[in-house]
C-alpha cells in the first residue's frame, strides 16, 4: 500500500467512530433508496408484464345496447387489435353469515379465455361449455368472506335469488385494486367483489339477446390513440353511448399507477434527507481533518507531493465513506424490497408480482450517494489547493477569547453556575463546531417529525371520516329506489334507535371543460348521522336550495361558492340540470356532494324517495338488527361502520411497518449525528481536555461540560427543527394528494413531545458511546505531540 493510503487507512482507524457514523447515515439512506426503488421497479415491471400477458384494456366504453355489428365495426378500425363486448352490472350478493355485499357481475365467454382483460386462475378451472350455474370469484373478496371453490354464492338479480357454484378463484388486471367507484372512500376488500359468469347464463338471466353494455379494447402499438377513441365513440353513438374511459383513468390502474408514482418519488425524497445529513457530516469531518492536518499537508507538499495527489488523498475519504455505506446499503435495500414488494399484494392483487435484482438499483444508488457525498468532500478539500506550503508550516494565529453577547446581560449571566458559563462560552465561541451539532439536531428533529406525522395524519383522517363525519352504525342500500315513508318504516325494527333515509345518485358534474363523476347524496334537513363540516370544520346542514360540494372536488372542478354546476344523471332519461354550489364540505376521500333529499327528488322529477338509510342502533342490539336487516329482501348491502374501520386498520398495517422502519432509520441517524458531533468535539479538544485533566478535573466533570454543551445546542435546535419538519411534511403531503385523496399536515402535540424526548435520549446515548474516547485520553501523548 502506498504511504498516503496507509495514512488514510490509519486516520480512518484512529477515528473509526466518525467514519462509521457517517457511513451508517449513507447506509441507511441508500438502504431506503434501494428498498423503495427496487420495489418500485418490481411493481412497475410486474404490472407491465401482467397487463401485457393478460391483455389489459387500453380503453373501454359503456353504452346501453352494443350489438355484435358495432363490435365488429370497432374491431375493424385501424389500430384496434382486439375488442370484446360484455355485460357488466352491479348486483347484491348474499355472503352468508348475515352479510350482504355488492358485487360486479361480468360475463365471460365459455371455453376460450377473453381476448381482453383475461382472468388469472388462482384455483379451479375456466368455464367449459357444459357446466351450468357456475361462477368465478375474485380471490381477495372470497378470502374476506372465507368462501372457497365449491361453495354456493347467492346473487340477487332482478329481484330473484340465483345460486351459482364457485368453480374457481381468480384475479384480473382490471381489478388489481377493486373499488366500485372513485367516490368509495377508504374501501375494504369486503366492500366489493367481482363475480364472473358465462355469457349465455347472463343473456338468459337478464333476457339480453346478443346485446352488451360494455366494450373493451386493446390497441396495436400506436402513438396518439385519441383519434381511435373518438372513432369508437362515434360508432357507439347510435347504440346509446354513455362514457368512454382510457386505461390511464381506469380506476384500478389509476390507483396502482399513483402508488407507483409515489414510490418513485419517495425512493429519492427520503434518502435525499439522509444523504443531505451525510453530506453535512462528511463536509465537516473533512474540513476538520484538513484544518487539523494543515502542517502535515505543508510537509507533504515540501516533500514534493503534488496538489493533485494530496487532493485525491483527502477525497478518497469521502469516497470510502460513501462506498462503505452505499454498497451494503444497496444490498440490504434489495433484500428488504423483496418483503416490501410482496407486501403490496395485501392491498393489490397482482398474481404475477415478482422480485428481481436490477443492476439499475446498484448503479443509481451508488451514483446517487456519490454525487452527494463526494461533492461534500470536494467542497471541504478544495482549500488544500490554496494552502501555501510555506504558510502551512507557520502555526495558525490563535483565536482571542472575546466576550459573548450573553455575558452583557449581567443579571442572567451572574446567575449561571461556572460550569454553564464555560459551556455557553464554548458553544458561542466555537460557532462552526456548535453549528455541526446544531444542524445535526435540526435534521434529526425534522426526520423524526416527518416519519411520525404520517401516522398522525392517517389517524386523524380516519377518525375524522369514521367518527366525526359518520355517526351511523349501519348504512343499508336497497336494490331499487324506495318511497320515503317505506324507508322510515325501518324504524319499526326492534333495537333501531334512528333511521335517516338517504338518496344516492351517481352523476357527472360539469363546469366548462372540467368534468367529474361523483355521487350526489340527498339527506334530510334534520339529519344528524352525517355530520357535515365546512372548510373550517364548523358543522353545516344541507341548504334548502343548492348543494354542498366536497372541497377537493370543488378545486378539481374549479368552482366557487355561488357558481352553477351542470349535472348529468346516468339513470333514466332525465335531462341535464343546473345546480348552484351553496358551500363546501371537508372530506379527505370519497369526494361527494350533498343536498336536501326532497329537493333532489324534485330534481330527478320524482317524489320524495330514498335509495338507502343510515341507521343507529340501541346498545347491544347490533347483532339482532343486523339479522333483521339481512332478512329484508329489498336490502342489497349492509355496511357496518365499525367493520369497515377495522378492515381498514388491518390494511394500514403495511403503512405502519413502513413508518416504523423509517422511524428506526431516523433514530439510527439521530444517534449517528449526535455521536459524531460529540466525537469531533472531543477529538478537537483533546489538548484542552487533556490540560483540564492535568489540572485535576475528573472525567465526570469533563463529560458534564460536553453534555451541557450538547443539551444546550439541542434546545436551540428545537424550533428550527420543528419548522423544517413541518415544511418537509407539507412537501410530502403534496405527493399524496390526487384525484381520490386529500391529505393535510396534522401533527399531534404528543408527537412533538416524543421528538423532544428522543433527541434528549440521543444526546445521552451519544455521550455514553463516546465515554471511551474521553477515558482513553492519554494526557502525556496529547500534550507532547504537536500534531496530535
Amino acid at each position: 500500500m502506498n504511504k498516503l493510503n496507509k495514512m488514510l487507512w490509519r486516520d480512518i482507524r484512529k477515528s473509526w467512530g466518525q467514519f462509521v457514523a457517517a457511513a451508517v447515515v449513507v447506509f441507511v439512506g441508500i438502504t431506503i433508496f434501494a428498498a423503495i426503488y427496487s420495489s418500485y421497479l418490481n411493481l412497475k415491471n410486474s404490472l407491465e408484464y401482467y397487463y401485457r400477458e393478460y391483455n389489459f384494456l387500453d380503453y373501454y366504453a359503456e353504452a346501453r345496447n352494443i350489438t355484435p355489428e358495432a363490435i365488429k365495426k370497432i374491431k375493424a378500425l385501424e389500430g384496434v387489435k382486439e375488442a370484446i363486448g360484455r355485460i357488466s352490472i352491479d348486483v347484491g350478493a348474499d355472503m352468508g353469515a348475515e352479510k350482504k355485499a355488492v358485487v360486479r357481475l361480468i360475463s365471460l365467454p365459455a371455453d376460450t379465455h377473453p381476448s381482453v382483460n383475461d382472468v388469472y386462475l388462482l384455483s379451479g378451472d375456466y368455464f367449459s361449455s357444459t357446466g351450468k350455474k357456475k361462477c368465478l370469484v375474485t380471490q381477495k373478496f372470497a378470502e374476506y368472506y372465507n368462501i372457497k371453490k365449491g361453495d354456493k354464492l347467492k346473487l340477487i338479480i332482478n329481484n330473484n335469488l340465483n345460486e351459482f357454484e364457485i368453480q374457481g378463484l381468480v384475479a384480473s388486471p382490471e381489478y388489481i385494486y377493486a373499488i366500485r367507484s372513485g367516490i368509495s372512500a377508504f374501501p375494504s376488500p369486503g366492500d366489493f367483489g367481482i363475480v364472473y359468469i358465462k355469457d349465455e347464463a347472463f343473456q338468459t338471466l337478464l333476457g339480453y339477446r346478443n346485446i352488451f353494455n360494455e366494450i373493451h379494447v386493446v390497441l396495436e402499438e400506436v402513438d396518439k390513440p385519441q383519434h381511435i377513441f373518438n372513432k369508437i365513440e362515434d360508432i357507439l353513438k347510435p347504440y346509446g353511448f354513455i362514457k368512454g374511459i382510457e386505461r390511464k383513468d381506469q380506476l384500478s390502474n389509476y390507483t396502482v399507477a399513483e402508488e407507483i408514482k409515489q414510490l418513485e418519488s419517495f425512493a429519492f425524497m427520503f434518502p435525499a434527507l439522509f444523504l443531505f445529513v451525510a453530506t453535512m457530516m462528511i463536509y465537516i469531518i473533512q474540513k476538520r481533518l484538513i484544518n487539523y492536518q494543515r502542517t502535515l499537508i505543508g510537509t507533504i507538499k515540501a516533500l514534493g507531493y503534488s496538489n493533485k495527489s494530496i487532493f485525491w488523498h483527502y477525497i478518497k475519504y469521502s469516497v470510502l465513506v460513501t462506498l462503505a455505506g452505499s454498497l451494503p446499503g444497496v444490498i440490504a435495500g434489495i433484500y428488504l424490497s423483496k418483503g416490501i414488494t410482496m407486501e403490496y399484494n395485501k392491498i393489490f392483487s397482482i398474481p404475477l408480482l415478482y422480485h428481481r435484482i436490477y443492476g439499475e438499483v446498484f448503479f443509481v444508488g451508488i451514483l446517487f450517494s456519490m454525487v452527494f457525498c463526494v461533492m461534500a468532500g470536494i467542497q471541504a478539500t478544495r482549500g488544500i489547493l490554496s494552502i501555501q506550503p510555506a504558510q502551512a508550516m507557520r502555526p495558525e494565529i490563535p483565536k482571542v477569547g472575546k466576550k459573548i453577547a450573553l455575558e452583557h446581560i449581567k443579571p442572567l449571566w451572574a446567575r449561571l453556575s461556572f460550569g454553564w458559563k464555560v459551556s455557553i462560552r464554548n458553544v458561542f465561541r466555537n460557532r462552526q463546531r456548535a453549528l455541526l451539532t446544531f444542524l445535526g439536531t435540526v435534521l434529526t428533529i425534522m426526520f423524526l417529525l416527518v416519519s411520525m406525522f404520517f401516522m398522525d395524519c392517517v389517524d386523524y383522517i380516519f377518525k375524522f371520516h369514521f367518527f366525526e363525519f359518520q355517526k351511523q352504525d349501519y348504512k343499508v342500500v336497497f336494490n331499487r329506489p324506495v318511497a320515503y315513508e317505506d324507508v322510515v318504516e325501518l324504524q319499526r325494527i326492534k333495537g333501531i334507535k334512528e333511521v335517516e333515509p338517504i338518496l344516492e345518485v351517481p352523476v357527472e358534474m360539469k363546469n366548462g371543460w372540467h368534468k367529474k363523476e361523483t355521487v350526489l347524496v340527498g339527506i334530510t334537513e334534520e339529519n344528524s348521522l352525517y355530520r357535515l363540516r365546512d372548510e373550517e370544520l364548523n358543522p353545516v346542514q344541507v341548504p334548502t336550495k343548492g348543494m354542498l360540494v366536497a372541497e377537493a372536488l370543488a378545486q378539481q372542478l374549479s368552482v366557487k361558492k355561488g357558481d352553477k354546476l351542470t349535472l348529468k344523471f346516468f339513470l333514466g332519461n332525465i335531462e341535464e340540470k343546473e345546480v348552484q354550489v351553496a358551500g363546501f364540505v371537508k372530506q379527505y376521500a370519497g369526494f361527494m356532494c350533498y343536498m336536501n333529499l326532497k329537493e333532489l327528488g324534485v330534481l330527478l322529477e320524482e317524489g320524495k324517495f330514498g335509495t338507502g338509510a343510515l341507521i343507529k342502533v340501541e346498545k347491544g342490539a347490533a347483532t339482532s338488527v343486523e339479522k333483521e336487516l339481512y332478512d329484508i329482501p329489498g336490502v342489497e348491502s349492509i355496511e357496518s361502520r365499525n367493520e369497515a374501520y377495522h378492515a381498514l386498520q388491518e390494511m394500514m398495517a403495511f403503512m405502519y411497518i413502513f413508518i416504523f422502519l423509517l422511524l428506526i432509520f431516523g433514530i439510527i441517524m439521530g444517534v449517528a449525528i449526535i455521536f459524531n458531533t460529540t466525537l469531533i468535539n472531543i477529538m478537537e479538544r483533546r489538548r484542552e481536555l487533556a490540560s483540564l485533566r492535568v489540572m485535576g478535573y475528573t472525567i465526570k466533570e469533563i463529560e458534564k461540560t460536553i453534555f451541557r454543551e450538547n443539551a444546550l445546542i439541542c434546545i436551540i435546535a428545537l424550533i428550527p427543527g420543528i419548522a423544517l419538519g413541518k415544511a418537509m411534511s407539507h412537501l410530502f403531503v403534496k405527493q399524496f394528494v390526487n384525484k381520490l385523496f386529500a391529505l393535510e399536515v396534522v401533527i399531534f402535540p404528543r408527537t412533538y413531545l416524543i421528538t423532544l424526548v428522543c433527541v434528549l435520549v440521543f444526546v445521552f446515548l451519544a455521550q455514553w458511546a463516546s465515554r471511551r474516547n474521553i477515558k482513553s485520553l492519554d494526557m502525556i501523548e496529547v500534550l507532547k505531540n504537536r500534531e496530535g
Binding site: 504511504k3 514534493g304 496538489n307
Partner: protein
C-alpha cells in the same frame, strides 16, 4: 558563474502584504551557495531566515529578484514545476520534525522514497541515522532527537542535491542537538550533499564552511570559515 554553484540569488526580496501594512521580510538578497558546501544562515528571530530558506526550497516565491538553482531560474517556475523541483532536488528538515504521526519511522521515510525513481537504500539510511531498531516505532514513541533523526533520514532518502534545515536543533537539548549536527556534517562530508542550516544560535555557525549573517531582511555579513569545527567541539 561556475558549475560549482548550487544556488545563485540575485536581489531577492520578499514582501508580505497584510491589508494596509506590508512586511519586507527580505530586501535584495544576493549570494551564492556552492556545491558540497556547509552553510549556516545566522540571524535573530524575524530576520527572514525561514523566508529565505523557503524561497530556496521552492516552498515560496520571491516578490522580486531571481533564484538560480544549478543555473536554472526557479523564480519563474509554476506551482507544478516547483513541486517537481522540491521532489527531486530538495530535502527539508524542520524544527518540529513534522513527521506523520500515523506512520512508523520506516514508513515516514518511505513516504519520501516513493516519490523518486532512485532513492537511497532504506536500511543503509536507517543505519546511518542509528535508528535500525526503532524502524517500526511511531513518532509518539520516540524522543525529540530520534524524531529529528527520522526527519533527516526522510529528507536525505530521496537523494536530493541540497538539504535545507530550518532550526534543526531548535527543539532539542544540547547533547541531542550535537548528535543531530554531527549527522548533518557526516551527510555533508561523506555523502557530498550541500547542507544549509538555519539557526539563531551563534556557536553552531562554527561548523560551517560559510556563514551568512542576516539582519532585518538584509545580509549583514558573509564569513568564510577556513577551519570548520567538529560539532562535538561546539559548546553552548
Amino acid at each position: 558563474m561556475t558549475d560549482e554553484e548550487v544556488f545563485k540569488l540575485q536581489h531577492v526580496s520578499k514582501e508580505y502584504k497584510m491589508g494596509q501594512v506590508s512586511v519586507r521580510a527580505l530586501q535584495s538578497i544576493t549570494c551564492n551557495i556552492e556545491d558540497g558546501e556547509m552553510v549556516v544562515i545566522l540571524g535573530p528571530s524575524g530576520s527572514g531566515k525561514s523566508t529565505l530558506l523557503n524561497i530556496m526550497g521552492g516552498m515560496d516565491t520571491p516578490t522580486h529578484g531571481q533564484v538560480y538553482f544549478q543555473n536554472i531560474n526557479i523564480s519563474t517556475y509554476s506551482a507544478k514545476e516547483l513541486t517537481l523541483y522540491r521532489r527531486e532536488k530538495i530535502g527539508f528538515v524542520f524544527q518540529f520534525y513534522n513527521l506523520m504521526p500515523n506512520l512508523t519511522a520506516r514508513e515516514n521515510i518511505e513516504l519520501a522514497t516513493e516519490l523518486v525513481s532512485n532513492p537511497l537504500d532504506l536500511d543503509e539510511i536507517l543505519a546511518k541515522v542509528d535508528l535500525k531498531d526503532r524502524a517500526n516505532h511511531f513518532p509518539s514513541q520516540m524522543s525529540g532527537g530520534e524524531q529529528q533523526r527520522v526527519a533527516i533520514a526522510r529528507a536525505i532518502a530521496k537523494n536530493p542535491v541540497v538539504l535545507l534545515c530550518d532550526e534543526p536543533t531548535g527543539a532539542l537539548d544540547y547533547s541531542t542537538g550535537i548528535k543531530v549536527l554531527t549527522l548533518l556534517q557526516e551527510i555533508n562530508r561523506e555523502m557530498n550533499k550541500t547542507v544549509v542550516i538555519i539557526t539563531h544560535n551563534q556557536p553552531i555557525a562554527q561548523m560551517a564552511d560559510r556563514i551568512i549573517k542576516l539582519g532585518s531582511g538584509k545580509i549583514v555579513e558573509i564569513i568564510d570559515n577556513k577551519q570548520p569545527l567538529d560539532p562535538s567541539q561546539i559548546r553552548w
